[in-house]
């Protein structure tokens, strides 16, 4: 790890003002940043400890719920209101990392965790995300973990978070403080980016931006929601494929459906076409199978990850069925 200056930050204004400077980086739970610093992938000159400056409460608001950026992943997953009214969030959180890491990881940091692509993690290999202009090693290389949709010739990395898949499905909003505005709101679908020509940018957080909270609007999905995560081992591994599914039912009729996936793209991916198909249909296995077929129609696997396509199809079907027995 390279030497750095450590600063304890007292307020959100101080945090955003300092973060705007070159070489300054925030640390919250540290579970992603310290790992990257040990590998010299991220080399901050000044480390801003924002743990005391960030909100750490979960509150109800007029439109739903607000989760402070410093709330630990385990605290959010076990919170009564989240478990009863937003169970998808709780399920996705508990599917991620380990109990120790969830006790440390913050909600804000979870949104900003970086990809686990092996080319990004190995500083001796080319990677446009880590070192722009060096090329994408994964596109014709070891890409079994990589994207099957939304990638570019510059980058095929996938977003690693489980929480973000649930937040994408529930149309959450990211609340941000910058030096010139007390509150900027970015809808979740616009927060993370596709790689395009600039894979070094994971998201649209402004330079001075500090995530202060995540808002989730109230919804009727809490009775029928499921998260399915498929990985190389049963627990404590990143997703090969994950599916967040949520249904609002009237009897057996689907009033509204939400479907999102992890392990498939550079950002949490919503399956809008399948959602539109499900709307108004009866919640039967046949409907679910057709929806899964629509989902996989969109995919374009790389040289080593075609196995993800049938895996995704099955996961969508199972997730939708699990919604009925949630």
């Amino acid at each position: 790890m390279r030497p750095f200056t450590f600063q304890r930050i007292q307020s959100l204004d101080q945090a955003s003002a300092r973060k705007a400077n070159d070489g300054h980086q925030c640390i919250a739970g540290g579970t992603n940043l310290l790992d990257l610093m040990k590998k010299n992938i991220t080399v901050p000159e000044v480390l801003l400890d924002i743990t005391k400056a960030l909100p750490d409460q979960i509150e109800t608001t007029a439109k739903g719920i607000r989760i402070g950026a410093m709330v630990r992943n385990s605290a959010a997953a076990n919170h009564d209101l989240i478990r009863s009214k937003f169970p998808l969030v709780s399920k996705a959180l508990l599917a991620g990392a380990s109990p120790q890491i969830r006790n440390m990881a913050s909600i804000g940091g979870n949104l900003l965790q970086r990809t686990r692509c092996p080319y990004f993690y190995d500083t001796t290999l080319p990677c446009n995300k880590r070192n722009p202009g060096t090329g994408c090693g994964a596109i014709d290389g070891e890409n079994r973990m990589s994207a099957i949709v939304g990638y570019s010739t510059e980058c095929v990395a996938v977003h690693p978070s489980d929480l973000c898949i649930a937040l994408a499905a529930l149309d959450a909003n990211v609340i941000i403080r910058t030096t010139d505005k007390k509150e900027t709101i970015i809808p979740f679908k616009d927060f993370h980016r596709l790689p395009g020509e600039t894979p070094e940018q994971d998201n649209n957080l402004p330079v001075s931006g500090i995530i202060t909270a995540v808002d989730i609007p109230s919804n009727q999905f809490f009775k029928n929601a499921a998260y399915v995560k498929l990985r190389d081992r049963e627990s404590y591994a990143f997703a090969l494929i994950s599916v967040a599914a949520a249904l609002e039912l009237n009897g057996n009729k689907i009033v509204q459906a939400r479907l999102a996936s992890g392990g498939v793209a550079h950002k949490p991916w919503r399956w809008y076409e399948a959602e539109a198909f499900l709307k108004g249909k009866n919640a039967t296995l046949e409907t679910f199978q057709k929806a899964a077929a629509i989902v996989v129609k969109e995919t374009k696997p790389l040289s080593n990850n075609a196995f993800k396509v049938p895996m995704l199809k099955g996961a969508v079907e199972v997730a939708l069925q699990n919604c009925l027995n949630a």
Binding site: M1, P3, D35, N103
Partner: protein, 196 residues
């Protein structure tokens, strides 16, 4: 014979190199040091006060020091183990303010005012903690390297009430890997303590 000549030649060569280095004008050396300072930041010290196993310590540490390195290298509490140093094995598990956490991914300077419990702090009045006793009785380990982390995690697993079934125990202990594969004994130890 041949070998000797080479080593003599090598000796003459390296000693002449060292001699010529000593004659580099002081200005050149100072310039080199300035360049090095500009490129490589020097390490920075920070003062931190933490409570470890109910004892308060105030230390001056390199800002890069992890809690794990502080425990092992500064306080000589070598029970917490460094398996991977990247959050992937759980060997470094300690309790921070009563919650299980990974000391290898915690910066020591961020532990200001926090209470840490390590495996060394579990036994009370010379008596093993029930979980330590259970690990002994149920063969919860083989080589013992992952064991301090397993026990710290197991104590938390029981406190969190995540012992409803074998599947639940396994899920909530999945952050601790054991290369010897003592998993069955570990699950049994946790069941034994949870049943008390």
């Amino acid at each position: 014979m041949e070998k000797q000549t080479i080593s003599r030649r090598f000796f003459l060569f390296t000693s002449s190199m060292a001699a010529s280095l000593a004659f580099i004008p002081a200005g050149v050396k100072a310039f080199y040091n300035n360049v090095k300072r500009a490129i490589v930041r020097s390490k920075e010290k920070e003062t931190v006060s933490i409570i470890v196993n109910k004892q308060k310590h105030t230390l001056s540490v390199d800002s890069r020091t992890t809690l794990l390195d502080l425990l092992r290298e500064e306080l000589h509490l070598t029970g917490s183990k460094k398996g991977c140093d990247h959050g992937q094995c759980g060997a470094c598990t300690v309790h921070i303010d009563g919650q299980r956490a990974l000391s290898c991914l915690s910066l020591a300077v961020m532990m200001e005012g926090h209470e840490i419990t390590t495996i060394e702090g579990l036994a009370q009045d010379g008596k093993l903690h029930p979980m330590q006793q259970a690990f002994l009785e149920c063969d919860g380990f083989q080589c013992g390297y992952c064991t301090p982390g397993q026990i710290m995690s197991a104590v938390a697993c029981v406190n969190e009430g995540r012992t409803g079934s074998v599947a639940e125990i396994k899920e909530f202990m999945s952050g601790n890997l054991c290369r010897c594969g003592a998993y069955n004994g570990i699950v049994e130890s946790i069941q034994k303590v949870a049943a008390r």
